[in-house]
Amino acid sequence: MSIDTGRQASRSVEQATPPWALAVKRNGSTFGLLSLALVLAMAFSAINPDSYATLLNVESIAFSIPEVGLMALAISVAMTIAGIDLSTVAVANLTAIFIAWYSRVGVEQGQGQLTATLIAVAGGLLIGVLCGLLNGLVIAKLKVAPILTTLATMQIFTGVAVAITRGEAAYGVTDPLSSFGYNSLLGVPIVFWLFGVVVVAVWLLMTKTKYGVSSTMMGASRTAAEYSGIAYTWVVTRTYVLAGLISAVAGLVLVSRTASASAGYGSSYLMLAITIAVLGGANPFGGRVAVVGAALAAIVLQLIASGLNMMGVSTYIYQIVQGLILVGVFVVAFERKRVSEAISRRRRRANAQTSQTNQQKEHQK
C-alpha cells in the first residue's frame, strides 16, 4: 500500500517537471558539452579579448575542427561495438596522399580539373573502404583483438604511404579541391558544412537503421546479440568499413585544406581523436552511440587548443591537457557514481530505520 502511494507520488513529480528540464536530463552529456563549450569560449575571450572572439579566429577554429572531428567520429563508431580504430590517422594520410598524387597525375594526363577531382575523391574514399574492410575482416574472421589489429594495420597503412612516397610529402591538389578546402559558404567553411553533413548522416545510420541498432546491441552484449540472430561478422565488418570511410573523408578534408599530404602527418591526432571520442560519450566497453557528442567534443577541444595557443602555451602543454581530459572523464564519472551510491545507500539505511521504528510503533499500538 505504502509502496504504491510512493510510486504515484514520484510519477506526479515527474509530470510536474517542465519538458525542457526533462530534455536536459535525458541528453545530459550533450547539454553538458554545449555548456562546457560556451564557458570555455567565454573564458578564453575574457583572457584574450582582442584576438579570441574575432571572426577570423572563430573561422580558423571552424576550419580546424573537421579533420580531427571526423577521426574522432571513426573511433567513436568503432567504440560502439566495443572496438577501437587506431588506424584512422594512417587511413586519412593514405587517402590524402592518393588524392594529392592523382590530382597531379590526372591533370598531367589531360583530364579536366573536375574529372580528375572526382576520380581522386572516389579513389580516396575507396581506399578508406578497403582499409576498413581489412580491419573488419581481420577482427571478425581471424578473431584478432581490435587493438592489435588496428595497431598493426596502422603500421601497414603508414608503411604503404612511406613506400610509395619514399617518405616525402606530396604537394598540390586540383582547383576544385583547394577552393573546397579554403572557401566558406554563408560564413561557415565548406569543410565544416561537410563535417556537419557527415555527422548527421552517421547519426541517422547509427540510430535509425537496422545496422545501427544491431551494432549498438552487439556492443552492449555480444552474446545476447548473437543469440538474437545478429551476425557478428556482418556488423563488425560494416562498422570498420564505416570507420575507414569516415577516416578517408578526414583525409579528403586535410589534403584540401593543406594542399599537401605525407605519411607522417598528424601523428598527435590519434591521441586527440581518442580523447574527443571519449569526452563525447563513447564507451570503450561498447553499446553507446556518441555521434553528436563526438562533434561537440571536437569543438570543445579545438576551443581549448586555440585558446591555449593564443596564451602562448606550448603544444606540449596542450598534450598534457588532452591526457588529463581523457583520464579526467573517467575519474569524474567514477567519483560521481561513488558519491551518488553512497548517498542512496545512506538514504536506504535511513529508510530502513524509519520503517523499523514505524513497525515498532504499530506493534505498540
Binding site: K208, K210, V213, A224, Y227, R348, R349, A352
Partner: protein
C-alpha cells in the same frame, strides 16, 4: 553443539530491488544446514555476503559468538569460511592441481610457491574424496562434472570451519553425489559446520539436519529436517504447492508435417546419433543432468554450434543450419539458458530487446527502421505477455526476472517461429510469471508451433509436456510417451 556462524539482519539492495531483507541464519558445528530456496530467492547473494564477495547494506556476521561485522573476502577465509560457488569460480588457464591449491596458498600468505607442493596438496584432497582427476590438465580442458569436483576439492584443501556449498551437484552423477555425501558425513564428524544449498528436494532430505527456507529474499521457515515433508518444503520454497497434474494443450487434429525433425545429428565431442521429432502443436520436454549435452543439442538445432553430421528438418523442409541467422530463417526461435548474458541486453530498452530478433520485419526501405512498426510490435508483445512496465523505453534491467524472461519469450514470438526451443524457461522466475509463461507456451502450441522445452524442473515437465526425452552423456537415453509421463518416472530416469 555450539553455534559456528550466525548472520543477523542481513539486508541488501541492488539498484531499486531488494535482494535480501533482514535475513537471519545460523549453523552449528557438526551439522548440515540446508539453505533452500527457489532460483532468485537470494541464496547466492546471502552466501556472497557472508564470504565477503558482496557487502551488505545492513546486518552483521558472528563467528563462534563473536561479532565480526561485515568481513572482507580475506577476513572470511581467515575465519575458516569456505565456499563452493555455483559457477565454480575456477581458473580455466591453470592446472587442476594449481586450482585446488590456490586458496590454500592464499591463506598461507605464501610468497614463493612450488609446483610439487601444489600437486601434493591437490593429491591429498583428491585421494581423501576418493576421486580421479588428472592433476596436470588445465581446467579449460576438463568436463563440467570434473570442474565441479575441482571446486569441491579446492574448498576442502583447507581446514574449514564453515563450508558453504552452493548447488554443488548440478553436474554430478548419482555415484559422485553419493561419494560427496560420504565426505559430508566425514566433515560433520570433524565438527565442520556445513551450509548446503540446493533446490533439489531429494538431496535436501538426504544431506541435511536442519532446513532454512528463503523466499524472495526473506527467511520464511526454519526448522529440523524432520519437521519437513517434501510437500511442505516445496510449498514453503514456492509459496504454493505446484500441481504435478498434467494440463496438456490440445494437439491438432489434422496431420501436419512435424514442426521439427532431427535425424542422427552429431557434433564432435559433444553429442552424436541424436534423433527425435516435435510435432506441430506438440510440446516435447528434453531433460538430463547439467553437462549431459541437453543445452548443446538445443544450441546446435538453433545454429549456434552447427552440427557436423545428420539432418534437421523444419516444417517438413530440410534446412542447412550453420548459423543463428539460418536457424531463424528456417523458423526456429530459441529462449536461451542464461537469461542475463544470452537472453536480454540489460541496459537496452524493453522495446529494442523485443525487436532484436525481428529487425528485418520492422525495417523499411534502405534499412531504415520503421518506428511506428517498432512501437506496434513491442506494444503487441508487452500486452500479449503481460510485461509489467509503464514505459517500453525503460531498460530491461528495470524489470524483475520473470518479466525479463517474458521479454525474451516476446522477442521470439515476434518472429512467429515454426519451432520454439526453450532452455530452462522458468529458471529464476517467480511463481506468477512461471504460470503465465507456461500458459503462453500451451497457447502457442495450440496455434501450431512445435515446442521443445529443455528443463530439469520435474513438475514443469509433467505439467506441460506431451512427451519427455532424456539425454545422457551426449546420447539420447529413452523417452516417456504421453501416458507414461509422471514425476516419479522422470526422477527415476534422471537419477539412474
Amino acid at each position: 553443539m555450539p553455534l559456528a556462524l550466525q548472520a543477523k539482519g542481513i539486508t541488501k539492495t541492488y539498484g531499486g530491488v531488494k535482494a535480501l531483507t533482514e535475513v537471519d541464519i545460523d549453523v552449528r558445528a557438526g551439522e548440515v544446514m540446508c539453505l533452500a530456496g527457489a532460483n532468485g530467492s537470494g541464496k547466492s547473494t546471502l552466501i556472497k555476503i557472508i564470504s565477503g564477495v558482496e557487502t551488505a547494506d545492513a546486518g552483521h556476521i558472528e563467528m563462534d559468538g563473536v561479532d565480526v561485522g561485515r568481513p572482507s573476502v580475506t577476513d572470511s577465509i581467515d575465519l575458516g569460511i569456505q565456499v563452493i560457488y555455483q559457477d565454480m569460480s575456477l581458473f580455466p588457464n591453470l592446472t587442476v592441481a594449481e586450482n585446488i591449491a590456490m586458496s590454500a596458498r592464499v591463506k598461507a600468505r605464501s610468497k614463493v610457491v612450488r609446483v610439487q607442493a601444489a600437486r601434493s596438496i591437490a593429491a591429498r584432497v583428491v585421494e581423501r574424496l576418493g576421486l580421479q582427476l588428472s592433476l596436470d590438465e588445465k581446467v579449460e580442458n576438463i568436463s563440467v562434472a570434473d570442474r565441479q569436483l575441482v571446486a569441491i576439492c579446492r574448498a576442502l584443501a583447507l581446514d574449514v570451519k564453515v563450508l558453504f556449498m552452493d548447488e554443488p551437484t548440478t553436474a554430478l552423477t548419482w555415484r559422485e553425489i553419493d561419494s560427496l555425501s560420504r565426505v559430508v558425513e566425514q566433515l560433520k564428524a570433524d565438527g565442520v559446520a556445513i551450509v548446503f544449498v540446493s533446490h533439489k528436494t531429494e538431496e535436501v532430505f538426504m544431506m541435511s539436519d536442519r532446513i532454512t527456507v528463503l523466499r524472495n529474499g526473506a527467511v520464511v521457515k526454519s526448522g529440523a529436517a524432520a519437521e519437513f515433508t517434501p510437500d511442505t518444503l516445496i510449498e514453503s520454497l514456492l509459496g504454493y504447492l505446484p500441481s504435478e497434474e498434467r494440463q496438456l494443450s490440445a494437439l491438432p487434429v489434422e496431420d501436419k508435417a512435424p514442426a521439427l525433425e532431427v535425424h542422427e545429428i552429431g557434433r564432435n565431442d559433444l553429442f552424436e546419433g541424436v534423433s527425435f521429432e516435435v510435432g506441430a502443436g506438440e510440446i516435447v520436454g528434453l531433460t538430463g543432468l547439467l553437462g549431459s549435452g541437453r543445452s548443446e543439442i538445443a544450441e546446435s538445432i538453433f545454429g549456434i554450434l552447427p552440427i557436423d553430421t545428420g539432418e534437421i528438418r523444419v516444417a517438413g523442409q530440410a534446412k542447412p543450419i550453420g548459423s543463428v541467422q539460418e536457424g531463424i530463417e528456417a523458423g526456429i526461435g530459441y529462449v536461451p539458458e542464461d537469461r542475463l548474458t544470452q537472453g536480454v541486453i540489460l541496459e537496452q530498452s524493453i522495446e529494442s530487446n523485443l525487436i532484436a530478433a525481428s529487425l528485418d520485419k520492422v525495417s523499411g526501405r534502405g534499412g531504415f527502421l520503421d518506428s511506428g512498426q517498432m512501437a506496434r510490435a513491442s506494444q503487441h508483445a508487452v500486452e500479449k505477455l503481460g510485461i509489467k512496465t509503464d514505459n517500453p523505453a525503460n531498460p530491461v534491467s528495470s524489470l524483475s526476472g520473470g518479466n525479463q524472461q517474458r521479454v525474451v519469450l516476446g522477442k521470439w514470438m515476434e518472429t512467429e517461429p515454426s519451432v520454439l526451443i526453450l532452455n530452462g524457461p522458468t529458471v529464476g522466475v517467480d511463481a506468477g510469471s512461471k504460470a503465465v509463461i507456461l500458459d503462453i507456451l500451451r497457447l502457442t502450441a495450440e496455434q501450431g508451433t512445435g515446442i521443445l522445452m529443455i528443463s530439469d524442473d520435474v513438475p514443469e515437465l509433467v505439467s506441460v509436456c506431451h512427451r519427455v526425452l532424456f539425454v545422457r552423456r551426449g546420447r539420447m537415453d529413452g523417452a516417456l510417451e504421453m501416458d507414461e509421463v509422471s514425476p516419479e518416472r522422470i526422477r527415476e530416469r534422471l537419477d539412474r
